[in-house]
Amino acid sequence: MAIELMLEKWQGKVGELTLGMTEQEGGSRSRVIKLGGQTTLPFLSAEGQIPNRPRLAFEIWDIAPTDWPQELNQVYTDVFGDAYGWAEKCVREYKAEILCIKLQGAHPDFGNKTPEQEAKLIGGLLKKVDVPLVILGCGDDDKDNLILPACCEAAKGERCLVGSAVQDNYKTLTAAVLADGHNIIAESPIDINIAKQLNILISDLGLALERIVINPTIGALGYGLEYAYSIMERARLSALSGDKMVALPFICLAGQEAWRAKEARADSKERGIIWEALTATALIQAGADLLVMRHPQAVEKVNKYIDELFNS
């Protein structure tokens, strides 16, 4: 007798978000990228649809990072401090399909760049490269409330993904994202209850749920990855059972977290790359839709892994 698989019937669906806007729609990106839209848990394709593959974005900075390990510095040292050059290197040399620019230079402790400077940078970046853009603030709430609206305006009509909104500071960014047609990152500190609450608060301001991406906050391999994994899994199970308030794509800053691990920074060629790649692949299994990464070889490995998952 043939074995009959017990298949779960899901009623919910993860929201599908569109990143980037092409010329036909009024933007200037060469492509749009869709995230989410699943009706099943990661890679259980017998139970539902997985219309969009996980995507990888290259992380670039507006200033030269001072705390990146040698292994990363070697790759990017020629473009540190030159965001346009860095962006072009990632797109031309490493075939980046999404760029994530972190505006660290706006932080009061890291250069205190003005909103005008950052807006000009974003405007210029959009002219230099034609891939969809993720824009991250510097992490200082007061300063982000000044620079991010200016950057949203400079990128108006390009349908970027901008973040991060947090529970105590989401109104200014939500208003800017709404006004200029972007998507928003809602960030919570490895806390599913706050993640859900923040999505409600943001949608209360009139932003459609289809324009929100959850940053659940992650830990790297060996540094709390399993907590992030269980949060993401719980949210996805609830999403597929019909809870629309958590049925949104995930963004994970895999590179940032992996390269903080002391094992990744140890003086061993390749270990950091493997640390970043393994952190990312585990997060993909947890349901990550967009991963922000740093090392081109880690990106290559993870892309290969995604290819294999989708071809098998």
Binding site: I192, N193, I194, K196, Q197, I200, L201, R234, A235, S238, G242, D243, K244, M245, V246
Partner: protein
């Protein structure tokens, strides 16, 4: 919880009048109010005063379908009225209800199959309301067996243990709650469970309080669906909170609001 709004029922004078005068705005507003309050489906019952229930239920179905695509629950003890209602259906549909009587099962189970409808099965037969848990389970098993034999999917069957008014059948309340849990062991795949909630408080002084207390207890026993008044805000809040405590939705400070936006 699958919430079925009970208010479109001809036993309410405003609905009876609207049916008689074919005042569709009253019906549509009643449908809209219940959905806004969190109903997943709407019960449709012409009431005892209807002279021509077959055409009345068709009219009700048509005017409600103009304003919503939610499931409609055709509520009549007469199979020919259900049949008439089914002919007018475009939305998803649930039949309310069959009993364990063979002649009713013979008509309504095939109809449910034909229209891809969910089916409510009452644990009752021509002999009357069962008096204990064993009788309820026996009647339910009869209904499950009839469904299985006709190829009707048992997971689309909603068994109703028959809720008695607390001031009539006080000694049976615990049995009724346990029956909700035990219906699940009748078959695999499991049947679902439903109650007509408001009956529990018939003739009592504190109707709303009794309704919501019983509902919370029934939810704890695994109830899947209830026919109730969704515009009773405290009732719905209690239901949502009961489901929260059973880990059926993720907590957040706005969990009541989140549920209503589902």
């Amino acid at each position: 919880m699958f919430v079925i709004g009970e208010l479109i029922n001809g036993m309410y004078s405003s609905i009876a009048r609207a049916i008689k005068e074919k005042d569709k705005e009253v019906i549509q507003k009643c449908a809209f109010d219940q959905i806004a309050a969190g109903a997943d489906a709407l019960d449709v019952n012409c009431g005892p005063g209807s002279k021509n229930p077959s055409s009345d239920i068709q009219w009700l179905v048509e005017v409600i379908q103009e304003v919503t695509d939610k499931t409609l629950v055709l509520d009549s003890s007469k199979p020919q009225v259900i049949d008439a209602g089914l002919k007018a259906m475009k939305n998803k549909v649930m039949i309310n209800s069959t009993t364990a009587d063979p002649q009713k099962l013979a008509i309504l189970v095939p109809l449910a199959n034909q229209y891809n409808a969910k089916l409510i099965g009452l644990a009752i037969d021509a002999k009357g309301i069962p008096q204990n848990k064993d009788q309820r389970l026996e009647l339910a098993a009869t209904i499950v067996a009839a469904c299985s034999e006709s190829g009707f999917p048992v997971e689309q069957l909603y068994l109703d243990p028959i809720v008695m008014p607390v001031n009539v059948g006080q000694a049976q309340m615990k049995d009724i709650l346990e029956t909700i849990r035990d219906f699940k062991i009748i078959s695999e795949p499991q049947p679902k469970t439903v109650i007509g909630l408001s009956n529990v408080s018939q003739g009592t002084l504190f109707r709303s309080l009794i309704n919501r207390t019983f509902l919370v207890m029934a939810v704890a026993y695994g109830l899947d669906a209830a026919i109730l008044d969704p515009t009773d805000k405290e009732l719905m809040d209690s239901l949502i909170t009961a489901e929260l405590i059973l880990n059926k939705q993720i907590y957040c400070d706005s969990y009541l609001d989140a549920y209503r936006r589902k």
